[in-house]
């Protein structure tokens, strides 16, 4: 058994709305060699196992796990692909080390979203084929309905949700990896086109291309490899009932469960006081508020007021999505959780540049696999 697991190297390529000059393998390769150089490991000699996250229909290839080893240096090595978010991949890599089975593991996630020409159809294919798909509805309807019920149950306002988009896209101005940085007013967001009322287009993340690779190591290896290891203190995941007919619409209990699992491992009792910053789901602006509440950062219905007060701004009590989040950086499909974890690693190493948060010691990372899923994954990282 290895008691502690650290992230000892990170690498990325992109992030950009389009990457027409490189293939997905080249995107991954670039991120991988950077991560291995960053960790000071030889992937062919030192990395014992590889974990990737991908989804066949998103990739446009059946049995996509066959397409992952070569660009990572993983051929003729233990490798497996998870159809989950990057944080599910991180959890798997963590377990491989924690169990004592490996000492060095690499995890990869990527997005070549610009190559997907029929993305709304692919997402609609995730709806229940018998009960929901025959209606031929764009899957954003699930987000519109969830936001409406969330506002109804918690008295959160549309303005409070829109403020999340204002904050995150403004934070993105300081992040060189962010593609959708903008200095918008509340009115700019509220007056944008509607998508699935009460949800607006400007409260919905747009896609970005890129890849993220991380190298994880056991404590004894991490001490040799990393000057600034970032420790995975806790990691949890949970899914709710997938059925649109029987799930909760105003709250996200699966996320509460995932957070409890991560907090318990990390010994976090009072998240708002103990956590220094959070990189959490903002695929749609309202999701950030819903996530804050489910993650126990505040009570149900309180997140909107915290955003209004500026408590989650860069210089606030608990900065949320200092990277710009998915709204500012771009939505990166399965790589989203790793995109958020990357920001947390850079913050905890003190390498976040212009958007560095002072004295960042413990970071909270959370991800969701988007509509129509009920998937939550949570990680607590520290330096």
């Amino acid at each position: 058994m290895n008691e502690r697991v650290a992230i000892v190297g990170v690498g990325w390529s992109g992030f950009r709305p389009r990457t027409p000059e490189v293939s997905y393998k080249e995107l991954i390769y670039e991120a991988a060699v950077r991560a291995y150089a960053n960790a000071g490991v030889d992937p062919r000699a030192d990395v014992e196992s590889f974990v990737t996250v991908a989804e066949d229909f998103i990739e446009g290839t059946s049995i996509f796990d066959e397409y992952t080893p070569d660009q990572l240096g993983a051929a003729l090595k233990p490798v497996h692909t998870i159809t989950g978010d990057g944080l599910h991949g991180l959890a798997t890599a963590y377990m491989l080390i924690r169990s004592g089975y490996c000492d060095v593991v690499a995890v990869e996630g990527h997005s070549k979203a610009s190559n997907i020409l029929t993305h709304p159809n692919i997402v609609a294919y995730a709806q229940d084929p018998v009960l929901n798909r025959p209606l031929r509805l764009n899957t954003h309807f699930v987000a519109g309905m969830e936001m409406h019920r969330y506002l109804f149950e918690t008295d959160t306002t549309q303005e409070q949700c829109a403020l999340v988009a204002v904050k995150n896209r403004r934070n993105a101005l300081k992040n060189p990896l962010a593609s959708y940085a903008a200095d918008l007013t509340l009115e700019d967001v509220l007056n944008g086109a509607p998508l699935a009322w009460p949800l607006g287009v400007r409260e919905t993340a747009e896609h970005s291309d890129g890849a993220v690779v991380m190298v994880l190591a056991s404590e004894k290896k991490a001490e040799l490899l990393a000057e600034k290891p970032v420790w995975i203190r806790g990691i949890g995941w949970c899914n709710g009932s997938p059925s649109l007919e029987s799930r909760e619409w105003g709250s996200v209990p699966y996320l509460q469960q995932a957070a409890q699992m991560a907090y318990q491992q990390a010994g976090i009792r009072n998240p708002w006081n103990e956590i220094d910053f959070a990189e959490i789901d903002d695929t749609y602006a309202y999701k950030e508020l819903q996530a804050m509440e489910s993650l126990g950062l505040c009570d149900a219905g309180q997140a909107g007021a915290l955003v209004e007060e500026g408590a989650t701004e860069m210089d606030g009590e608990l900065p949320v999505n200092s990277s710009g989040g998915s709204l500012g950086v771009g939505y990166m499909l399965e790589a989203t959780g790793l995109m958020r974890a990357l920001e947390a690693v850079l913050q905890l190493r003190g390498e976040a540049g212009q958007h560095q948060i002072e004295d960042a010691g413990i970071g909270l990372v959370q991800s969701w696999r988007g509509v129509p899923t009920t998937s939550g994954a949570v990680a607590v990282l520290s330096n």
């Binding site: 446009g60 059946s62 954003h140 699935a196 029987s246």
Partner: protein, 154 residues
């Protein structure tokens, strides 16, 4: 968006697609549920006595206790509007000429997702809504046997 994307010299890419067609078996619960809708114009649920929970549409098992469900209940055609949205894009991602109203109407502890035949300004969460079924001769045993839901006329 990179400049490269807009030049005539932009690198080449191959295009491909896949025709995907599948059969989705209704199963024991689905077959009985849709038969009741088609033949009798009913929405059926199944009740778990252990969890005191009514699944709509009916299922043969309880996802809470994993017990087998054998008690079927007719939940009527009037449910409650739990939440709704006005959708402005179609399933290809293109803007809709006429926005669509979509909602969850709860029956028992579950419900039905469907289009709403209503003026959005008249809709309120919690109001009763009634299923509008196709004429019996046109019903085929699918969720589309319901045309949509409308406010219950007083």
């Amino acid at each position: 968006m990179t400049l490269l994307e807009h030049t005539k010299n932009a690198p080449q890419a191959w295009s491909g697609n896949l025709p995907v067609t599948s059969r989705y078996t209704y199963g024991l619960a689905g077959e009985r549920f849709f038969r009741a809708m088609k033949d009798e114009g009913k929405i059926m649920g199944s009740y778990c006595p252990k969890c005191d929970h009514t699944y709509v549409p009916a299922t043969v098992f309880c996802e809470r206790c994993l017990g087998e469900l054998s008690e079927w209940v007719d939940v009527g055609l009037v449910g409650e509007l739990h939440t709704f949205t006005v959708l402005f894009v179609d399933c290809d991602g293109n803007p809709l000429e006429e926005p669509e109203l979509v909602g969850l109407i709860t029956f028992g502890d579950g419900g039905i997702i469907h289009r709403l035949e209503a003026d959005p300004d008249e809709l309120e969460i919690g109001m009763p809504m009634e299923a509008v079924l196709k004429p019996k001769a046109k019903r085929k045993g699918s969720i589309l046997d319901i045309e949509g839901f409308r406010a219950v006329s007083k």
